[in-house]
Symmetry: D2
Subunit: 380 residues, 4 copies
């Protein structure tokens, strides 16, 4: 009999956006059951959150530390398998390390940590504990992102020349970070968000997607960071020229002040013979263009998909799957890996993705502060 | 503490499409937990399905009858609250009636039954049992379908003149119903599917959506049914002229032989001042057009949405929600109704939708068999 | 040395929409030069129009009769070759017949005439004069309409099953025909527009496009005409069920009260293996969908086009061509036919298109007045 | 009586792309008549071209010099008004200067010249001759580009923060410049094309559009030029970070190796309150997005357009206008300016646009050769 894995959550109390998404993603396929949590440092909010989520009161813990101690003491058939970390960024590293060292698998909201040093400590904790570490670079969970990756890797487009990625949001166009919006507030506070603002929040998604799908690595970059909203303490707009392996060139744009834009993550990759375009807001379509024949529209559920794409789909063609399903693909792969489900999809962003995106953030910040054009990014 | 409701499923064993969707939809928000089932009349397939779904072996029952007897005997804090029926169409009526009469709420895949007589019997069973009956006219669960309904109802477009709905699929373009495709096989078998083929399978979705959003009722219709694939026993293509209340006119098209089309359900409604267009395959966009000002794009999560639309959304703008989320909205509303969650969304298609769509099917078939142009559809 | 043909225009004075389009279309490729005209029955407006168009004062005639007499008397190297008729519909027949009988080719705005009887008289005049008669079913001039026609004809989609055409406008949503809009006024006056309102004005375009591209003929139809705007004397909304040759079925919709719609002519055709979709408002794209492989986007100027499509294009891929260019393709083909340019595109809608669309109009009106479901349309 | 202006063309013989577009653009509205030319340095090709275009043999000249001498000697009522220069780039400057000095207006294909020095000489010639100099930055002729410009200028979006422009083509993805494609050959030859390859050919269009619509000027830039196709002598891919007036930031991308792309010029501009997006391949739509209200679709011919936009339109909404019509808008404005048509559209790209784009080309090349990040672009 298949075992439903047991999950605890840290953070993600009432009203938190990303916590509810993690929960829905974990629940969708029946692979995970949320049984414990430390949802808020505010005791009353923590209690209400646990109650709302149907968690037994005794497993709604006041802190991660309390949770780890108590769960470790439970018998294996009741004890949690993994912890989801959905707190602000500055808590990711200490919490991930504590949970790994307590013997639990960890699925962590991105970014991995505040800086490279912390990120390396998590990597070491994962290595020494032998536990799995998953990182929510959600967009790699979309079925047609996988299809794009497969097609680039098998050479459909020939040698890759251009990698263009952009992530365009508008929700920080005004100073809502100073007007009580909690999401905006911590994301623009260097102490809680890390060195990059827009750069860390969404620039890393764009970077990860570009490298993940292209199979190339950024070797050198040249960046311009801007802060358009007065008195904001972190960047809200990022533009980066990229030089990638094998002579490919690229441009990465990420912005949170494109007023009116929603969640416009878009990737284009061109090789010698053709190119692809994928846009997160219409995720069930992958556009292919060719030098010598008509453009093709690859559709989720349509003909000609790779096996690894099909494994990430739940519905027939024309029944849209979205963000939660993409997220659920990561949680399912994480479960499959833990359960040793050979032959099923076990691939999810992990320590490597965390280190690589952190290196990107640090290189961009260094380059932005410099008069020299190019800054190297060490091979990951 | 919020109670997670307990669900049993009839049908939906391994490999069944719609069963897995019902399960994901029920699980998504944590409102329901699947705890029992009679997944297949094949004992081995039934056993494997229950195991795969993490159901306790003793609650994987050989039949609905066994399930109803056993569950009714359980203490209230363990007993199921509702039964999901996801069998072929000819079993909907007897099963729904049995479950209602056993005191359980029922959520049933559409169509309600094979004919109007059966449908009325379900309606009576629901009335006498005082139990809820939900019917999976899934597309009414999309947030922007609700938004469209609200805007029509509050008169944004003025008096409605035109209602145009189409549902275009291509998957039955070949005789796959005679070549081992189980989904295709029973859908084209009058004994299991009912009187209409394409008409019952998707024509009813189109009809329900059109009346649901427009707030109008079809009063007269004129239909042409075709069967394009040789030896098929039911219609695979439907075209209907509609005359609706208040002088509105319309056209309904449904086809399963539009080769290459996926799941193209599309609705357009025009009034004196403007019109709307919604397409299921891009469900997070609602297009509005106006006589005297620029067209507007209403977006899921964007500015200006009705409260009842916002209640059907889980993510911020630009994070696509899809078919499973729409379905989950129905299951959540069904749970809210059962739990008496006043102030939350408690609206889902029920007996009325079932009777109305059945009347549509019977009128179309009668008209198609006649030389007279118009056939009345009694007010629902 | 290539000869630029000489054109006269009847109607199309200052402020007339369609006259200016005919002039631009004729001028675009240098095939025609406008040298004479009778632009308005109002002498002052006629004079001003001729002056504005750079016509010599002595060739700005007070009437078509005066024009025909005077031009016939000119030496061949100065005399016009053809007359463009862009007057209201009720003048098409007498003018076309007069011009043909005077020995001039005629290019006529559609519809051909007010009724079938007049249309047959034009056909006879064309036959006895040996002159060319062109009819502005403009949409058949689009390059990708030609491409669609070619691909259907060569069997790419297999046997055709479905033909769906719609023409959706909104500009007559209000009673502007009673408020001084000249275009609207004569189009809704039976004496000047003919028997059909929306039916004759745009329903005929939809019908022509459907038969032209599908290569099929409508054999039976069942129609519903509506007049939504109070006191309007002709239909403003048309819905027709179609039964075509070889068992194909179809639906034709045309409306001028789809408030907010612009000029939404759209054609879809499906066969056994796939289908096509073309929309006039994005005319440089032809969408193909297939049962067994990804959808393709055929683009004006892109790879894989038929020779006859390429002949209708002026620019490389990605440089949009539009309505005037489509129109110009008809004028160029008309010139090529007159000049005997073998090997070049000489195909334009003519007498057959006029008779066929007129038969459609009359059949729809007859069916609409009847209680019987189907009305035959004689083979054209 | 309105006077049709008389035009001569240099270059643009048989088979030349851009020459035929200039001719169609000039002819479309009846403002210009092509009466003379020196179409090719190959006498036989020149003769054939003149004949094909209906030019009198004695006005088909062997060279521009011969043309200028002969036309200047004609009486004013026969003499040309202006010369169109559609030769390869290296001939633009000498020819433009000669024609201006001979007293004729000049409409020149872009780029203005090979370098800044030549460009300044043209500017001086225009100044001393008092003649008009038009430059074919065609994309500024599109009606909705004008609409975008107007809306930015009147502050609809607030202070502008982001200017993103891209021009993506794929036709030089292979070494067709070494395989007999004439268009490709001279465009990649520094002696004939100038310093920039893709940069000069299309990067300048992107730059001009960005400054023209935003009303801002690029003050500093940081560029990366690449040559992806082996042995190509000029860049085929351009990426530039932009810092504009008033703190705006931007990115400009231009490429001719985006395999499968056609003519993808796209502009996005964002201010404090909203943003706009315009794409050349769907030029009749202008997308507006807002922080606080639904996105709007501005349509050519639709409600709410500026007067200067309406003057650039020929057809009602929904009748697409394209590239030739945009081009014709420039020729019409050029004619209106020459004819002194006060109150009509007299605005076309001229000397300023030429100098500004040339400065951009030179700055990009200088920056690309440097290790320093930013290069200034002097105010234009």
């Amino acid at each position: 009999m298949k075992r439903t894995l047991r999950l605890a959550m840290v953070g993600g109390g009432e009203g938190a956006f990303i916590g509810s998404i993690h929960r829905a993603a974990a629940a969708l396929d029946g692979d995970w059951r949320l049984v414990a949590g430390a949802f808020s440092s505010d005791p009353e909010r923590n209690r209400r959150s646990g109650e709302m989520l149907g968690i037994e009161p005794e497993r709604t813990y006041p802190s991660l530390d309390a949770l780890l101690v108590a769960e470790a003491a439970l018998p294996p058939e009741k004890r949690i398998d993994a912890v989801s970390i959905v707190t602000p960024n500055h808590l990711h590293a200490p919490m991930a390390i504590a949970a790994l060292d307590a013997g639990f698998h960890v699925f962590c909201e991105k970014p991995m940590a505040l800086n490279m040093e912390e990120s390396r400590q998590i990597a070491q904790a994962a290595a020494r504990s032998g536990r799995q570490f998953g990182l929510a670079f959600t967009y790699s969970g979309y079925p047609l992102v996988e299809e794009a990756r497969v097609r680039v890797a098998r050479g459909d487009f020939g040698k890759i020349r251009l990698v263009q990625v952009e992530y365009s949001q508008g929700w920080l166009s005004q100073a809502i970070d100073r007007e009580g919006n909690k999401q905006a507030e911590w994301r623009t506070d260097p102490a809680r968000a890390g060195l990059g603002g827009c750069l860390g929040d969404i620039g890393t998604h764009a970077f990860h997607l570009a490298e993940h799908v292209s199979g190339l690595q950024v070797q050198e970059l040249c960046a311009d960071l801007a802060t358009h909203v007065p008195d904001r303490r972190l960047d809200d707009d990022v533009s980066v020229l990229l030089r990638l392996t094998d002579g490919a060139r690229g441009v990465l744009k990420a912005t949170q002040v494109a007023a009116g834009d929603e969640n416009g993550l878009k990737l284009r990759i061109y090789g010698e013979h053709g190119g692809l375009e994928w846009a997160q807001m219409e995720p069930n379509t992958l556009n292919l263009r060719w030098l010598d024949r008509p453009a093709e529209i690859i559709r989720a559920g349509g003909p000609g998909l790779a096996d690894s794409t099909l494994q990430r789909l739940r519905t027939p063609a024309g029944h849209p799957e979205g963000y939660i399903e993409a997220f659920a693909n990561l949680y399912r792969a994480f479960a499959n890996r833990i359960a040793g489900e050979v032959g099923k999809d076990c691939s999810f962003p992990s320590v490597d993705a965390g280190l690589r995106t952190m290196a990107f953030v640090e290189s961009v910040i260094a380059n932005n502060a410099s008069d020299r054009k190019w800054t190297e990014l060490a091979a990951g």
